[in-house]
Protein backbone atom coordinates (compact mmCIF):
# COMPACT_ATOMS: atom_id res chain seq x y z
CA UNK A 1 0.00 0.00 0.00
CA UNK A 2 2.75 2.46 0.99
CA UNK A 3 4.62 1.47 -2.14
CA UNK A 4 1.67 2.28 -4.38
CA UNK A 5 1.20 5.66 -2.72
CA UNK A 6 4.93 6.35 -3.00
CA UNK A 7 5.03 5.51 -6.70
CA UNK A 8 1.93 7.62 -7.23
CA UNK A 9 3.60 10.58 -5.49
CA UNK A 10 6.82 10.15 -7.47
CA UNK A 11 4.95 10.04 -10.76
CA UNK A 12 2.92 13.14 -9.88
CA UNK A 13 6.24 14.84 -9.16
CA UNK A 14 7.50 13.69 -12.54
CA UNK A 15 4.48 15.22 -14.23
CA UNK A 16 5.42 18.62 -12.77
CA UNK A 17 9.08 18.15 -13.68
CA UNK A 18 8.23 17.32 -17.27
CA UNK A 19 5.77 20.16 -17.62
CA UNK A 20 8.29 22.50 -16.04
CA UNK A 21 10.97 21.55 -18.52
CA UNK A 22 8.61 21.70 -21.48
CA UNK A 23 7.51 25.13 -20.27
CA UNK A 24 11.14 26.18 -20.01
CA UNK A 25 11.58 25.19 -23.63
CA UNK A 26 8.33 26.46 -25.13
CA UNK A 27 7.41 29.65 -23.28
CA UNK A 28 8.36 32.90 -25.02
CA UNK A 29 10.45 34.92 -22.57
CA UNK A 30 12.58 34.59 -19.47
CA UNK A 31 9.88 35.64 -16.98
CA UNK A 32 7.35 33.07 -18.14
CA UNK A 33 10.12 30.49 -18.28
CA UNK A 34 10.99 31.19 -14.64
CA UNK A 35 7.33 30.68 -13.83
CA UNK A 36 7.43 27.23 -15.44
CA UNK A 37 10.65 26.43 -13.62
CA UNK A 38 9.10 27.17 -10.24
CA UNK A 39 6.57 24.36 -10.80
CA UNK A 40 9.33 21.80 -11.20
CA UNK A 41 11.33 23.20 -8.28
CA UNK A 42 8.54 23.46 -5.75
CA UNK A 43 5.78 20.96 -6.49
CA UNK A 44 7.77 18.47 -8.56
CA UNK A 45 10.48 17.99 -5.99
CA UNK A 46 7.94 18.09 -3.14
CA UNK A 47 6.06 15.09 -4.56
CA UNK A 48 9.25 13.15 -5.30
CA UNK A 49 10.57 13.88 -1.79
CA UNK A 50 7.24 12.74 -0.34
CA UNK A 51 7.46 9.48 -2.29
CA UNK A 52 11.04 8.85 -1.20
CA UNK A 53 10.11 9.57 2.44
CA UNK A 54 7.42 6.86 2.23
CA UNK A 55 9.98 4.34 0.96
CA UNK A 56 12.67 5.30 3.46
CA UNK A 57 12.18 3.98 6.96
CA UNK A 58 15.05 5.68 8.78
CA UNK A 59 13.76 8.76 10.61
CA UNK A 60 17.07 10.69 10.37
CA UNK A 61 17.18 10.24 6.62
CA UNK A 62 13.59 11.40 6.41
CA UNK A 63 14.46 14.56 8.31
CA UNK A 64 17.34 15.08 5.88
CA UNK A 65 14.98 14.78 2.92
CA UNK A 66 12.61 17.32 4.45
CA UNK A 67 15.55 19.71 4.96
CA UNK A 68 16.58 19.20 1.32
CA UNK A 69 13.07 20.01 0.16
CA UNK A 70 12.84 23.16 2.31
CA UNK A 71 16.25 24.26 1.01
CA UNK A 72 15.27 23.78 -2.61
CA UNK A 73 12.05 25.74 -2.02
CA UNK A 74 13.91 28.69 -0.51
CA UNK A 75 16.68 28.45 -3.08
CA UNK A 76 14.20 28.41 -5.94
CA UNK A 77 12.42 31.54 -4.68
CA UNK A 78 15.64 33.46 -4.26
CA UNK A 79 17.21 32.21 -7.49
CA UNK A 80 14.13 33.20 -9.47
CA UNK A 81 14.24 36.64 -7.91
CA UNK A 82 17.94 37.08 -8.68
CA UNK A 83 17.67 35.80 -12.24
CA UNK A 84 14.61 37.94 -12.97
CA UNK A 85 16.23 41.02 -11.45
CA UNK A 86 19.34 40.38 -13.52
CA UNK A 87 17.21 40.08 -16.66
CA UNK A 88 15.37 43.32 -15.86
CA UNK A 89 18.57 45.23 -15.26
CA UNK A 90 20.21 43.97 -18.44
CA UNK A 91 17.11 44.85 -20.41
CA UNK A 92 17.05 48.38 -19.06
CA UNK A 93 20.68 48.94 -19.95
CA UNK A 94 19.93 48.08 -23.58
CA UNK A 95 17.41 50.92 -23.98
CA UNK B 1 22.68 -5.97 -22.09
CA UNK B 2 25.94 -4.15 -22.44
CA UNK B 3 28.01 -4.05 -19.29
CA UNK B 4 27.84 -0.68 -17.59
CA UNK B 5 31.59 -0.77 -17.04
CA UNK B 6 32.26 -0.93 -20.77
CA UNK B 7 29.73 1.82 -21.46
CA UNK B 8 31.11 4.27 -18.91
CA UNK B 9 34.72 3.59 -19.84
CA UNK B 10 33.87 4.31 -23.48
CA UNK B 11 32.28 7.55 -22.32
CA UNK B 12 35.45 8.36 -20.37
CA UNK B 13 37.61 7.74 -23.42
CA UNK B 14 35.24 9.84 -25.55
CA UNK B 15 35.36 12.71 -23.04
CA UNK B 16 39.14 12.48 -22.96
CA UNK B 17 39.36 12.61 -26.76
CA UNK B 18 36.90 15.50 -27.15
CA UNK B 19 38.64 17.48 -24.43
CA UNK B 20 42.17 16.82 -25.65
CA UNK B 21 41.41 17.76 -29.25
CA UNK B 22 39.71 20.99 -28.21
CA UNK B 23 42.55 21.83 -25.78
CA UNK B 24 45.03 21.63 -28.64
CA UNK B 25 42.83 23.42 -31.19
CA UNK B 26 41.73 26.44 -29.16
CA UNK B 27 44.11 29.31 -28.72
CA UNK B 28 42.06 31.38 -26.27
CA UNK B 29 42.66 30.74 -22.60
CA UNK B 30 39.16 30.13 -21.20
CA UNK B 31 37.88 27.74 -23.90
CA UNK B 32 41.16 25.92 -23.62
CA UNK B 33 40.86 25.58 -19.84
CA UNK B 34 37.27 24.37 -20.16
CA UNK B 35 38.41 21.76 -22.67
CA UNK B 36 41.27 20.69 -20.42
CA UNK B 37 38.80 20.21 -17.56
CA UNK B 38 36.59 18.09 -19.84
CA UNK B 39 39.65 16.02 -20.74
CA UNK B 40 40.45 15.57 -17.04
CA UNK B 41 36.87 14.55 -16.28
CA UNK B 42 37.25 11.79 -18.89
CA UNK B 43 40.30 10.42 -17.09
CA UNK B 44 38.46 10.54 -13.75
CA UNK B 45 35.55 8.65 -15.29
CA UNK B 46 37.87 5.90 -16.54
CA UNK B 47 39.41 5.53 -13.07
CA UNK B 48 36.02 5.27 -11.37
CA UNK B 49 34.76 2.79 -13.95
CA UNK B 50 37.70 0.52 -13.26
CA UNK B 51 36.99 0.84 -9.52
CA UNK B 52 33.31 -0.06 -10.02
CA UNK B 53 32.81 -3.74 -9.30
CA UNK B 54 29.16 -4.35 -10.15
CA UNK B 55 25.85 -3.73 -8.48
CA UNK B 56 26.40 -6.04 -5.50
CA UNK B 57 30.00 -5.56 -4.43
CA UNK B 58 31.72 -2.58 -2.89
CA UNK B 59 33.89 -0.54 -5.31
CA UNK B 60 37.66 -0.20 -4.93
CA UNK B 61 38.51 2.72 -2.63
CA UNK B 62 41.99 3.46 -3.99
CA UNK B 63 40.95 4.99 -7.35
CA UNK B 64 38.25 6.94 -5.49
CA UNK B 65 40.90 8.51 -3.28
CA UNK B 66 43.08 9.25 -6.32
CA UNK B 67 40.26 10.94 -8.21
CA UNK B 68 39.24 12.95 -5.14
CA UNK B 69 42.80 14.27 -5.02
CA UNK B 70 42.61 14.87 -8.76
CA UNK B 71 39.44 16.95 -8.54
CA UNK B 72 40.94 19.27 -5.93
CA UNK B 73 44.22 19.59 -7.84
CA UNK B 74 42.33 20.30 -11.07
CA UNK B 75 40.37 23.16 -9.53
CA UNK B 76 43.56 24.64 -8.03
CA UNK B 77 45.35 24.41 -11.36
CA UNK B 78 42.38 26.04 -13.09
CA UNK B 79 42.39 28.92 -10.62
CA UNK B 80 46.12 29.35 -11.11
CA UNK B 81 45.86 29.34 -14.91
CA UNK B 82 43.06 31.89 -14.81
CA UNK B 83 45.21 34.15 -12.62
CA UNK B 84 48.19 33.73 -14.98
CA UNK B 85 45.96 34.57 -17.94
CA UNK B 86 44.63 37.68 -16.26
CA UNK B 87 48.14 38.87 -15.46
CA UNK B 88 49.19 38.27 -19.06
CA UNK B 89 46.25 40.31 -20.34
CA UNK B 90 47.09 43.14 -17.96
CA UNK B 91 50.70 43.14 -19.22
CA UNK B 92 49.56 43.14 -22.86
CA UNK B 93 47.26 46.09 -22.24
CA UNK B 94 50.07 48.23 -20.86
Amino acid sequence: MTNILAVLAIFSGLFFFLSGSIGLLRLPDIFTRLHALAKADNIGLAFIALGVIMLESDILNNIKIVIIWLLVMAASAISSHLVARHALREHRSDD
Amino acid sequence: MISEQLLYSLAGIGLFGIGLRATLLHHMLIPRLLALNVCGAGVFLIFITIAYAGAESRPDAVPHALVLTGIVVAVSATAMSLALGRRLEALNDE
Binding site: T2, N3, A6, V7, I10, F11, G13, L14, F17, L18, G20, S21, I22, L24, L25, I30, R33, L34, L37, A40, D41, G44, L45, I48, A49, V52, L55, E56, S57, D58, N61, K64, I65, I67, I68, L71, V72, A75, S76, I78, S79, L82, V83, A84, R85, H86, A87, R89, E90, S93 | A55
Partner: protein, 95 residues
Protein backbone atom coordinates in the same frame (compact mmCIF):
# COMPACT_ATOMS: atom_id res chain seq x y z
CA UNK C 1 18.79 2.05 6.80
CA UNK C 2 16.65 1.82 3.74
CA UNK C 3 14.05 -0.86 4.09
CA UNK C 4 15.69 -3.14 1.58
CA UNK C 5 13.20 -5.95 1.78
CA UNK C 6 10.46 -3.62 0.55
CA UNK C 7 12.23 -3.08 -2.75
CA UNK C 8 10.03 -5.43 -4.79
CA UNK C 9 10.73 -5.91 -8.52
CA UNK C 10 7.63 -3.94 -9.48
CA UNK C 11 8.68 -1.04 -7.27
CA UNK C 12 12.18 -1.18 -8.74
CA UNK C 13 10.79 -1.05 -12.26
CA UNK C 14 8.53 1.87 -11.37
CA UNK C 15 11.42 3.79 -9.83
CA UNK C 16 13.64 3.09 -12.83
CA UNK C 17 10.96 4.33 -15.23
CA UNK C 18 10.67 7.47 -13.08
CA UNK C 19 14.47 7.88 -13.17
CA UNK C 20 14.52 7.67 -16.95
CA UNK C 21 11.68 10.15 -17.32
CA UNK C 22 13.48 12.51 -14.96
CA UNK C 23 16.55 12.30 -17.18
CA UNK C 24 14.35 13.09 -20.18
CA UNK C 25 13.09 16.17 -18.36
CA UNK C 26 16.69 17.25 -17.66
CA UNK C 27 17.50 16.75 -21.33
CA UNK C 28 14.58 18.97 -22.40
CA UNK C 29 15.77 21.59 -19.94
CA UNK C 30 19.31 21.42 -21.29
CA UNK C 31 18.10 22.26 -24.78
CA UNK C 32 17.23 25.65 -23.31
CA UNK C 33 20.76 25.92 -21.91
CA UNK C 34 22.07 25.39 -25.43
CA UNK C 35 19.61 27.74 -27.14
CA UNK C 36 19.87 30.59 -24.70
CA UNK C 37 19.53 33.31 -25.99
CA UNK C 38 20.06 35.29 -22.80
CA UNK C 39 22.35 34.49 -19.89
CA UNK C 40 19.24 34.20 -17.74
CA UNK C 41 17.66 31.59 -20.01
CA UNK C 42 20.78 29.49 -19.82
CA UNK C 43 20.91 29.77 -16.10
CA UNK C 44 17.27 28.94 -15.53
CA UNK C 45 18.06 25.69 -17.34
CA UNK C 46 20.94 25.09 -14.92
CA UNK C 47 18.55 25.67 -12.03
CA UNK C 48 16.27 22.99 -13.44
CA UNK C 49 19.18 20.57 -13.81
CA UNK C 50 20.20 21.30 -10.21
CA UNK C 51 16.74 20.50 -8.83
CA UNK C 52 16.40 17.54 -11.18
CA UNK C 53 19.80 16.33 -9.99
CA UNK C 54 18.55 16.41 -6.41
CA UNK C 55 15.51 14.34 -7.43
CA UNK C 56 17.69 11.85 -9.35
CA UNK C 57 19.97 11.47 -6.32
CA UNK C 58 17.00 10.84 -4.00
CA UNK C 59 15.73 8.08 -6.30
CA UNK C 60 19.21 6.60 -6.73
CA UNK C 61 19.63 6.52 -2.94
CA UNK C 62 16.59 4.22 -2.73
CA UNK C 63 17.52 2.13 -5.76
CA UNK C 64 21.20 1.60 -4.93
CA UNK C 65 20.55 1.47 -1.16
CA UNK C 66 23.23 4.10 -0.60
CA UNK C 67 22.34 6.34 2.32
CA UNK C 68 25.25 8.67 1.58
CA UNK C 69 23.45 9.94 -1.51
CA UNK C 70 21.07 11.90 0.73
CA UNK C 71 24.10 13.89 1.85
CA UNK C 72 25.05 14.44 -1.78
CA UNK C 73 21.53 15.68 -2.53
CA UNK C 74 21.73 18.04 0.45
CA UNK C 75 25.06 19.41 -0.72
CA UNK C 76 23.76 19.83 -4.27
CA UNK C 77 20.72 21.73 -3.01
CA UNK C 78 22.96 24.03 -0.96
CA UNK C 79 25.45 24.63 -3.75
CA UNK C 80 22.82 25.38 -6.39
CA UNK C 81 22.15 28.65 -4.57
CA UNK C 82 25.82 29.61 -4.51
CA UNK C 83 26.04 28.95 -8.24
CA UNK C 84 23.06 31.16 -9.06
CA UNK C 85 24.36 33.94 -6.89
CA UNK C 86 27.77 33.67 -8.58
CA UNK C 87 26.10 34.06 -11.95
CA UNK C 88 23.75 36.89 -11.20
CA UNK C 89 26.22 38.90 -9.15
CA UNK C 90 28.98 38.70 -11.72
CA UNK C 91 27.82 40.55 -14.78
CA UNK C 92 29.81 42.18 -17.51
CA UNK C 93 30.99 45.58 -16.39
CA UNK C 94 29.28 47.99 -18.78
CA UNK C 95 31.42 50.94 -19.70
Amino acid sequence: MISGSDLTPILTIALLVALNLLLLSLFIGLIRAWLGPGVEDRFSAILLVGTGGVAVLLLLAILLQLEALYDVALVLALLAVVGTVALTQSEKSHD
